[in-house]
Each structure stands twice: as C-alpha cells, then as structure tokens.
Amino acid sequence: MTALTAAGLAGARVKGQPEPGGRPVGRRRATRFIESGWGWAFILPTAIGLGVFYIVPAFTTIWFSFSSWGAFGGHEFTGLDNYRHLVTDPDIGYALVNTLLYTLMLLCGIPLAIYLAALINREKLKGKGVFRTLYFLPVVTMPAAIAMVWRLIYNGQFGVLNYALSLVGIQGPFWLQDPRWALLSIGVIGVWSSLGYNMILFSAGLQAIPKELYEVAMIDGATRGQQFRHLTVPLLSPTIFFVTILTIINGFQVFDLIFLMAGRSNPAIDRVQTLVWLFYQDGFYSHNMGYGSVIAVLIFLLTAVFTAIQFSVQRKWVNYV
C-alpha cells in the first residue's frame, strides 16, 4: 500500500467502481500495468530520437576514434594511431591552451555579471526593466551576424576601436591578426554576449535572498561592501556554482566566434584555434573523421574532468540553505 503513488491509488479506485466485488490487489496490478505502458509510450519518441541521434553516436564516435578514413569514404581500424598523433600534434597543444584561456576569460565575466545584477536589483533604482533589456540584447543576437560588426570594430585600419584609441594618442594593433591580442579580442565578445544571460540568473538568485537579512546587517553597521562579501556572495553561491559549470561547458565548446572572427588564413590562427574549431577542420573540412573523433573524445574528457573537479570542490564553498 505504501508503495503506491497517490495517482495510482486514485486510478485503482476509479477502476474499481464498476465492479465493487472484485479483488482490489489484482485490479491495482492491472492499473500499474497500464500506467507502465503509458509511461513507456510517452517516453518512446524521445528514447528513440535520443538513442539514434545522441546516445548511439556518442559510442560511435569513440569507435571512430580508433579508425582512419580514406578521402572517399571507407574506414579501417587503426588502433591507437589517432591517439598517438593527438599527443604529438602541436595544433592540439595550441588549441588546448587557447580553449582553456578563452574559458578563463568567460569566467572573468562572472564577477562582472554579479556586480551588475546587484546594481540593477537595488531597491530604489529606476529603469530596471530598461537596463535589463539593454544588457540582455546581445544574448539574442546571432553570432554569425554580430561577428561581422565586431570584425569591423576591431579592424586595424579603420575600426572604431582604434579610432577611439587614437584620440588618446594610442596606435592600436590589428586586433584579430596580432597573436598577442587575437584571443583576448574574441574573449571580450564572448563575455559581451553571455553577460546578460548570467545577469538574469544572478538576478533570480539575488531576489531569493530575504531582504530582512540586509536590514539586520544595516542595523549592525555593515557597509555595503561588507554586506556584499559576507551576505550576498555566500547566499548566491549555488547560482555562482551553476553559472560556473555552465560557463566552463560553453567555453570548452567555443566554435562560432573562433570560426567567424579568424579564418584559416589568419596569421594568428595558432593563438586562437580551439578544440572544437580543430574538430571541425579535421573532421569536416579535411574529411579526416577518425582524427575529428579523437578530438571530440578529448573535448569530452576535458569537460568531464573539469565538471568532476567542480562538483568535488563545491562542498567547500557552496552554501545550500
């Protein structure tokens, strides 16, 4: 009896009504059986879709990573060849470092998002809605479209950025072609386009903090900075944790901006190519799907390791109230 759900129980009673003399246990079992059928029927389309397009492909990719592809299809098992190539490929080294650096830049956007969300959430601030809209706008923009204007802004010859710098007497570089600046320039766009999204998440987190806590802190004479450090940040830590995980996962998968901002012929390509960009180049542009698969496996391992680290250290700093 205790094992039954309320819904199951209700269903059993309904079933029981037409023939009150029957054995309840048998009918309950029949209801359960019917519910099981519906349960499977409801998940079936998704189970098939995810199975065919995601779950099986994930394993196929692992299988492919041990094989080599001819230019015109047909592949053969080559054991650990791809993996051997992977560890000696200098491009992979560059891509790994660039991916980590890019992710680090995105992570630097998190404190900024918290700060701005806290500003917008101030009690008497007017125009919250307008600010929220303006900060969120970049989130809805299409990367392929917005990259065009960013390329123009970053243009070394007639870009607006270098014009602004020239006003204060600085000769700006060719941002996207200079190995020292290219990745940083793209990282700025990454922060720009995710800031509004993170601000919404932090705003929701901030609104869940009881206002009385701040009143008490105020009476105790805590400054705004102290309130922020000792009240806001600890109480916001579950959201910070969530956003951090999300940011790392997104950062490790960066492709669009790299593809759009730096072409294959970019002189600084070593310093901006990322793992997914290499995956695309090798897997689809060069049709070396075996090697592409090995890069995919590497991206998976990297994500898994970093997510695992995050979850294992979260106990030390995340407060679940």
């Binding site: 969120f136 970049p138 917005i146």
Partner: protein, 291 residues
C-alpha cells in the same frame, strides 16, 4: 497557478517600511548607463554602417552618421543573395525543431515526473547523461545518419536531430514535478485516462514551462551555426546563420551589404525578445533555479 515558482520569488518579498535604507544610486546609474552603452554599441553601429555608402564604411576617422542614409544595402542583399529563401529555411528548421521538442519533451517530461513504470530511473539517467556530453561527440555520426537518409543539403536534415532534446525533457520534467497533484488526482477520480489527464489538465498548467522551452529552442535554433554549416553546402539550401558564416570572407569588403544582411538575420530574434521579454527572463531564471 503553475508559475508560482517563477513569480513567487518576487511576490513573496516582504516590503518592510520600518527600516529606512539610505542609498546613493548616483554612481550605480553612471556605471549601468556606461555599461549599457557598451552593450548596445555594436548593434547600433551595425545599423548605422548598413545605412552608409561603401566609401563611408571604410573611411578613417569613421563616419558616425552617413551624409545620405540609404537603404540601398538592404535591397542589394535581396538581389545578391537568396536571403528570402534562407530566412524561410531558417524558419522551417526552427518551427520543426520547436514543434518536435514541445511534443516529445512534454510527453517524456510528464512520464518521468508523474507516471510509474519499470526502468524509469534508468532511462532518466540515460537521458541526463546526454546532457553531460559535448555536442562535438555527436556530430560525425549524426552527419553520417543524415547522409544515409539522403537529407544532406536539406532543411529536414538540419532540423532532424534537434527534434529531440535531453535538455528539454529535463526542463519539462522539472516543471511537471513542481505542479500540484490535486487537480490531476481529481481528474483521475472523475475517470479521466492518462492521455486526457495529461492533455487537458496538466499541459495547460504547464504553459509557462512550454513557453520557456519554446523560447529557448527558437533562440538556439535560429542562431545555431555549426550543424547547419556541416549539413548544407549550397547557399540556396542554407539557413541564414550558415550563409552569413560562409560569406564572412567573400564579400567582406562591402560592409554596408554585410551589415544589412546581419541586421535582417538578427531582427526576428530581437523583435521576439522585445515582445516576450518577461517570458524570456522567466524562462532563463527557471533554468537557473530548477535546472
């Protein structure tokens, strides 16, 4: 009733008038306004350049407002690119993915939240594990499936894998799990079967969840670039995102033309956001609190 969670945070906040909090918001305004300017500038700049002549767009110092603002670049985009067709392709892909996810994810989400069946936890775990795997790990086999179905260079090929979503299933499960059980039980007592209970009682209650899923799917699908780039090769078969991506190099010198194309590509999402702001924000906030 169903969106108590998303509204509750704001509604439940007690407004205490006993303690007077003195705040100086001057610096806050200054920072927020400056920040807004930085956030919006690229979008405004894009529109301005699209109205300029080619010479103006390449001059230094930059021309901040064209001498003769012109929509010539917009008409040129329609003449030089199959952009109307690309917009249609993007729309078809987005509608198909959204419809697919709404149906399949809400069905599966409801089953995981409310129905009891053997293997439920195992299947849910399996679905969730898909969320842990980066997209790159699916793409090569997905491409081969699309190839074997002869769907390369078609909008159906682009749309197909995105009809199903582990994320959407998870989102809908969380939403259904948060709904009150009473109405559902009452419906069952009245003799409603599983399908009727789901379609007539639970689905209407889950509207905010469905809206959130729709917004997130539409946004992702419209802006999605890597997968369409893999599946389509001809300009006339591409959705607008893939087309703009491949054009970056070729026509890059004609800035007004490029900017006009970009503005056209972004406009639908910006309008959608402007109209459904509250739902956008609630959808993302829901993801943060319950996802």
């Amino acid at each position: 009733m169903s969106d108590t969670r998303s509204r509750g945070a704001r509604g439940a906040r007690p407004r205490s008038g006993t303690v007077h909090i003195k705040q100086h918001n001057g610096p806050a305004y200054a920072i927020l306004i400056l920040g807004s300017a930085v956030m919006v500038f690229p979008l405004v700049w894009q529109v301005i350049v699209s109205l300029e002549s080619t010479e103006e767009s390449r001059s230094f110092p930059p021309v901040f407002w064209p001498a003769h603002p012109s929509l010539a670049a917009y008409t040129a985009v329609f003449e030089q690119l199959p952009i109307a067709r690309q917009l249609l392709t993007s729309t078809l892909i987005t509608v198909a993915r959204t419809a697919g996810q709404l149906v399949f994810c809400s069905l599966a989400g409801y089953a995981f939240a409310r129905l009891r069946f053997p293997g439920r936890n195992l299947m849910f775990g399996l679905f969730l594990s898909v969320l842990m795997v980066p997209g790159a790990c699916f793409l090569i086999p997905q491409y081969q499936i699309i190839q074997s179905l002869h769907l390369v260079d078609t909008w159906q090929g682009v749309a197909l894998p995105g009809l199903f979503s582990a994320f959407g299933t998870f989102l809908m499960r969380q939403f259904f799990a948060g709904l009150p059980r009473e109405l559902e039980e009452a419906a069952r007592l009245d003799g409603a079967g599983t399908i009727r209970t789901f379609a007539q009682i639970m689905l209407p209650l889950a509207r905010p969840g469905l809206v959130a899923l729709t917004i997130l799917t539409v946004l992702w699908s419209w802006n999605d670039m890597l997968w369409p780039l893999i599946v389509t090769t001809g300009q006339s078969k591409m959705p607008i995102s893939a087309s703009l991506a491949t054009l970056q190099g070729e026509h890059m010198t004609n800035y007004p033309l490029m900017m006009a194309g970009a503005v056209i590509a972004m406009l639908p999402m910006i309008v959608l956001f402007m109209v459904l702001q509250r739902q956008f924000i609630a959808g993302i906030a829901f993801q943060g609190t319950k996802g």
